[in-house]
Subunit: 445 residues, 2 copies
């Protein structure tokens, strides 16, 4: 490990905290240089704490000897994440840096989808046998302190076929009589997850049960690994980030905002923006259809943005509330009738409130300026009724769209605020001009 | 504990999993009934796992004897959360159910804001002394297995003034020589947080360092408690939920979507909806100002929704990306120039792309229908240039608004998609009609 001895530049030592603070403003070669200034223990902690993306960038800037050292320093699950982050063509060379045993473990983990329970788990958990005594189990776990296990605080009790029978914590063992059997003190009422469970659901399982580690089993109940809660904090952050970015109307960036290139970012944003733009084009023929009305009363055109935006805003509220409720498991597909009933009620109340404000606006403005002429009252009613209709429609569309997307196998978070607003704009104009034609015929039209 | 013996209804026993599955569709008295059917161990686990809101509802439905039992069964931090959830006038009666020692602990915790590190922490951590030997420390932690400590896997090394000197894990102790001193094996390079740190930042600290527990210290470095990662998963979920609901243009619901009453929900949504509606009213005078132009060319009115929505959508994308980057600590206030530079570039490229699509739309439609007349080319140019301007303006507004809100002490997440769209609508109309006046004078106008 000669490459990790005192650096040449005098006796400068950098602390982990210093490097962490400066990290964001350093370029890759500066990062590698700073990283080499850490002492080996701090360096290891620092490297493990980096995101897979940052690890890969740093890894690429290191010498082959350093690469071998640091790759082997990672636990197998983190090592698999790092390899997964690399381009497919670079992966074999990375795997070649590992020793045979680690390579086998990493290969197994790479076979899982990155965002499955299997892709998150560590294969290095402590196995205890049901027929051990408590004292034997404590001794065994204690001996594993130096082993590269994810945790020694939980012993998983497996039968000869590797099927999970129970779990026992070191704390439970400390509380039990030394000559009792593990099978008598273990917890058998287990929360466990299948290896193909999506990480979003794994995160929810942790949140619901306040767990520290969760065993992962295959379809025949054989235990494959454990997911630990410290990895789950990242998963929950990541899933929320994806949802938020989709709700805003982009694709998920999959990287920190300031680190993704502008070109990459434009690509993630242009697709939806173009689709929404094309969708919004359907507003033009609707308005064109009522061109004569607008000729007779341009006020119809000037109130247009007010009325359709009310529907879009109400729809954005409803869709984000429902998207989040679905992500948290608070609302399921089967709840759609309850959601519909609630939003019908909420949309009606909100529509009536805004409609009243809209009507008062027309009446008050007439009082101040006299712009709207003799038929201002019926114009006020038209605006009021249109707002009720558009807000109610927007609310229902916004609430039902995420459920419909899930039903069709899409991500509910794609029911973004801009998408809902766009859908509601076209129909909102139909509602507005339809009502105006009916209510204003013979007066303003 | 006679009230928790076998229930009267035959020998029906309910499992925790059954009750959990049915929970959402049961009303409060059914929940209490089901809860009484659990065996005591499962009941305790079940009760502790409930959210504070559910705990309170269940608690209220129980008999006084049951209330005393279950309140005392909670660890002090969870107990404080439950008391906090109750109405202020009900809290003294709840505190009176506790024994003196627990009441003192809960009172201390209640003094912290609910979403501070202090409000999250448990005061029951294991204290070890620096001059203990490793064997003594192991023996001491082992003896604490029955105590109501949050964890026995970490010993916090304090001096006589309760100042935190270091931390040592049980695993480290197992690895060390039995006669070594705790002060020699402990970790001194500590990540610790002040008691008043906001929970969002506490969550980020966990995510960055992959920690299991984090010590909380007061301003003079005295250790007050620990926050454990299993509580943090909930915090991260909760903070993301608040942000998502704000991004959608509501206030945070602070309760599961299907459980909050419709009235309560309408209250959380009506405020912003009304503000946005009033804000959007400023579009009417802008369009009115150009009423003559619209009389001459109603096509200007029919293209209005298309052009302003492009700006709103681009703005929603930019604001949600920046809001999330700020929440994750990826972008800070001081990064505003970098954000501005990136969004200027992205906004220009996106604007040019959409502008081109808009222009082609006019030209193509003219080819199909001949609706736009002889000046269709200059109309196409007007639409194209307007879209570039509006999209660029929307992008900049969306990206800068969250930063401006943070600078002024508000929550960046209040820069919701609907708020950005509303702001951009008014200015977007000015850009559009201004350009139309300049470019179409002498042809269509």
């Amino acid at each position: 490990m000669s490459e990790f001895e005192e650096p040449a530049i005098g006796d400068t030592r950098l602390s982990e905290a210093d490097l962490r603070d400066a990290w964001r403003v350093l370029d890759t070669s500066e990062r590698a240089e700073g990283f080499r200034l850490l002492n080996p223990t701090e360096g290891e902690e620092f490297f493990i704490d980096l995101s897979a993306g940052d690890q890969l960038a740093l890894f690429t800037a290191l010498s082959p000897a350093e690469q071998r050292f640091w790759l082997r320093a990672l636990p197998p699950d983190d090592c698999a994440d790092l390899v997964q982050e690399a381009l497919p063509e670079d992966r074999p060379a990375m795997l070649a840096l590992l020793d045979e045993a680690l390579r086998r473990e990493v290969r197994t983990l790479l076979a899982y989808a990155e965002d499955d329970a299997g892709g998150l788990m560590s294969t290095r958990f402590a196995r205890v046998r049901p027929e051990m005594t408590v004292d034997e189990a404590i001794l065994y776990l204690r001996k594993q302190a130096n082993a590269q296990l994810e945790t020694i605080y939980y012993g998983y009790v497996l039968d000869r076929e590797q099927r999970l029978l129970g779990v026992v914590s070191l704390r439970q063992l400390f509380q039990a009589k030394g000559n009792a059997l593990v099978s008598d003190v273990m917890h058998t009422d287990l929360v466990q997850v299948p290896e193909e469970m999506d990480q979003e659901l794994v995160g929810r399982t942790f949140a619901e049960h306040d767990l520290v580690a969760l065993p992962v089993v295959d379809s025949s109940g054989r235990m494959k690994g454990i997911v630990t809660v410290d990895d789950i904090v990242d998963v929950v952050q990541e899933e929320a980030t994806e949802d938020i970015q989709k709700i805003g109307g982009s694709e998920a960036l999959d990287a920190p905002y300031l680190e993704v290139s502008v070109l990459q970012m434009v690509k993630k944003r242009a697709g939806w923006l173009a689709i929404l733009f094309v969708g919004e084009m359907f507003t033009a023929p609707v308005v064109d259809h009522y061109a004569e009305h607008i000729q007779q009363a341009t006020v119809l055109a000037s109130l247009m943005p007010l009325i359709i935006s009310g529907g879009g805003n109400a729809g954005s509220q409803a869709s984000t509330l429902v998207i989040r409720a679905m992500a948290l498991g608070e609302a399921r597909l089967s709840d759609w009738v309850r959601v519909l009933r609630r939003e019908l009620l909420a949309g009606t109340v909100l529509g009536l409130a805004l409609g009243l404000v809209g009507m008062l606006r027309i009446v008050a403005w007439e009082g101040i300026s006299g712009d709207y002429g003799p038929h201002y009252l019926i114009l006020g009613v038209t605006v009021g009724v249109s707002v009720v209709g558009v807000v109610l429609w927007g609310t229902i569309t916004g609430a039902m769209l995420p459920l419909a997307l899930r039903r069709l196998g899409f991500d509910p978070a794609s029911a973004s605020a801009p998408l809902v607003a766009t859908l509601v704009d076209v129909t909102g104009l139909l509602i507005y001009f339809g009502l105006a034609t009916a209510l204003l015929a013979g007066t303003m039209l």
